[in-house]
Assembly symmetry: C2
Homo-oligomer: 476 residues x 2
Amino acid sequence: MADNKLVKEITSMDEDFAKWYTDICMKAELIDYSSVKGCMVIRPYGYAIWELIQKELDARFKKTGHQNVYMPMFIPESLLQKEKDHVEGFAPEVAWVTHGGSEKLDERMCVRPTSETLFCEHYKSIVHSYRDLPKLYNQWCSVVRWEKTTRPFLRSREFLWQEGHTIHATAQEAIEETERMLNVYAEFAEDCLAMPVVRGEKTAKERFAGAEATYTIEALMHDGKALQSGTSHYFGDGFAKAFEIFYTDKENKQVNPFQTSWGVTTRLIGAIIMTHGDDNGLVLPPAVAPIQAVVVPIAQHKDGVLDAAHALADSLEGLRVVCDDSEKSPGFKFAEYEMKGVPVRVEIGPKDIEQGQCVIVRRDNREKTVVAIKDVKAAVEKALEEVRQALYNRALENRKNRTVDCHTLEEFTKTAKEQDGFIRAMWCGDRECEDKLKEVAGVTSRCIPFGEDAIGDKCVCCGKSANKLVYWGKAY
Amino acid sequence: MADNKLVKEITSMDEDFAKWYTDICMKAELIDYSSVKGCMVIRPYGYAIWELIQKELDARFKKTGHQNVYMPMFIPESLLQKEKDHVEGFAPEVAWVTHGGSEKLDERMCVRPTSETLFCEHYKSIVHSYRDLPKLYNQWCSVVRWEKTTRPFLRSREFLWQEGHTIHATAQEAIEETERMLNVYAEFAEDCLAMPVVRGEKTAKERFAGAEATYTIEALMHDGKALQSGTSHYFGDGFAKAFEIFYTDKENKQVNPFQTSWGVTTRLIGAIIMTHGDDNGLVLPPAVAPIQAVVVPIAQHKDGVLDAAHALADSLEGLRVVCDDSEKSPGFKFAEYEMKGVPVRVEIGPKDIEQGQCVIVRRDNREKTVVAIKDVKAAVEKALEEVRQALYNRALENRKNRTVDCHTLEEFTKTAKEQDGFIRAMWCGDRECEDKLKEVAGVTSRCIPFGEDAIGDKCVCCGKSANKLVYWGKAY
């Protein structure tokens, strides 16, 4: 009954996906709203997920040779304006600081929407010779973009992220770096978030402001909408030219270096919710679950139950485990930890103790397994891996079911109308066709995938010769 | 020679302490300047020190039951104004955001100088019953205070910090929390930073804006100036009243809860520099040294030297160690790692290899010890602990030498003129005397120390009855 009560509080996914999403954000205690419009309070449970994402990614960044730094949060207007495309892309959506205390500033400054310009200024100060290259930097911080419509994690005026920034002697090295970091993101998404992604390149229209190429990982949410989950940008020497960054090469010539940047944000928490969640709440992939297993004692007032429950939790040391010995009913606890997406529950009651066993319940499918108490750690570890694999498989299945190849404009618009998901279709490369598909079918180009074969040779829109396969979809 | 060259580049401490300080910040590659006035770029080596400070403190915060959260970086003006003393203290030094994109905001917002007001708003939303208490939160973030005069780490317009915020059912609990966290700071400073501190309470004049009591740890720098290194504030129920935060207690009455906040900042890096540094550069306490030991091969072109050096570094696994096999001369390397404050250097050359030994050199006193290669790890660990202890002892000695008890105003002004340091003197508690001592001797009250006996019963300034012993000094 308590179970039903809690569950009743969230809207079902099929009834109203957007409301379901917001309900989870609130009921799983991931966020709270505040009087700061478009910004969110990230509560302990939500922040703990972000800390696990950070820890995992930071280790992968360090392993690939990157060092963390911290740049100022402000960018003077004149600095933001140095690279033309960049300022055009970002100026309309920045927050401007005009006063310090009671004094008006000589020059207004924006709160960083991204830090390319600051890194460029710093490179100019410290890069002089080929011996100074490459510099492989990363920054964990918050950034601000003045969005009109906001949603927790997915689109907010302030969000947390990491931004990698690197500078290299050659274009080749910079391109390799751009690819390497996209792969780091893709492997992290698939291994740790159990979220299958399509790796590919953005069309010119969807590129980062100032980039020569933008690579992306695109995931498909449960409702069939796409989510851009991480991007990696190759800048060529455009920024270096705009900021007059030069280095002396081995032939003693002054030349411009080449740059990249790459980032993922707290939006990944939104991706986790919409990829794995269900009508009972959040479902967390074990690698980023603040609690991987909860031990729930049954009939805990009976002799020896609480002791056995605590002993069970102790034997799970090394995992992130809690034993809930509060006075709430077991049913209430079940519902609560299901809402919070805890991947595995371990139940133990008087009868179990008699028989030297306990019950393991998976969050994703509620499958129960009875195991001997002495084997509990191995059994929980096995269950966690099974949850991870099952979440990945289910998400992949959803993507397969919602990915359709289209060869004509009629097919394309019909498919887009009937169901949300990915449409794979050939494209000639013209911006006009891209705009038209948005107009008639409401979709945007998600990416030109890496390593997938063409499915035809004519543009799905204009019928002219086409050699680019594109994933199209509605996106968050 | 290379050694001399590098060292020549920094001003000596005795010649110009301020210049010496800035030289270390730049030459040890801790920071860089940028076009953002009053803000700094924290470079990889500086940021790595901060990461180690964070890791150590975060573990101590979690051990004392605190959870990390993230609040918005903006505070609407009306929210900042809710607590009268607080807004008076902070409004004159905040940065104001007035525009989002091209639109003027209905209400301007400041970039957080500290987040009490945001936490209060959040508490109001989530605290309803005594069962919801306490909430023990912490936030790692950057804050902005529009300072006129700035110096790297010590005083900058933006700085990194952690701010703990807690809310409790009773005043007693909140006071205990305030004391507990001050002790966490003091133990961290002494154990990890090898920096002796005086624990005490601030006078009313020096209190945090809005606090009923502010506790502090005060350290004495090499030049005899004091540095406030961490503070912990007890708010009573003042904020709760201003923000109308109530909870239902066990007797079913609506009452106000009690609050605290506490913080340390990147200023601690400045404290490390000015407590331990010398004319050869930075000296890092081992717990926060990004590199704890550097292995430098001697005559590395000779057979077997590089292999032996790498093997030596491998055998130091578990410590933060690098083997510098670059083509720079050993002398250059010595000077470079001394500049960077690496606590222990290990040298190995052909003769050492023949004899199965290596040479360990301490950064703090350059003392050399010859040890058998097979014993190197234990020897380096021992040397690291010796460095920590020696740094602590030297700093304590400096403080002792620069702490003088004064009983008359004449003594007081004479002492303040002759040498910078702490003056211990009795004070009646009147603001007038505090102001006068500032006027005639140029010092401020640093704290009323915990656990130290009175040294008289008359105010050093007015001669009236006094029961408060106070530490006075010039401060950064």
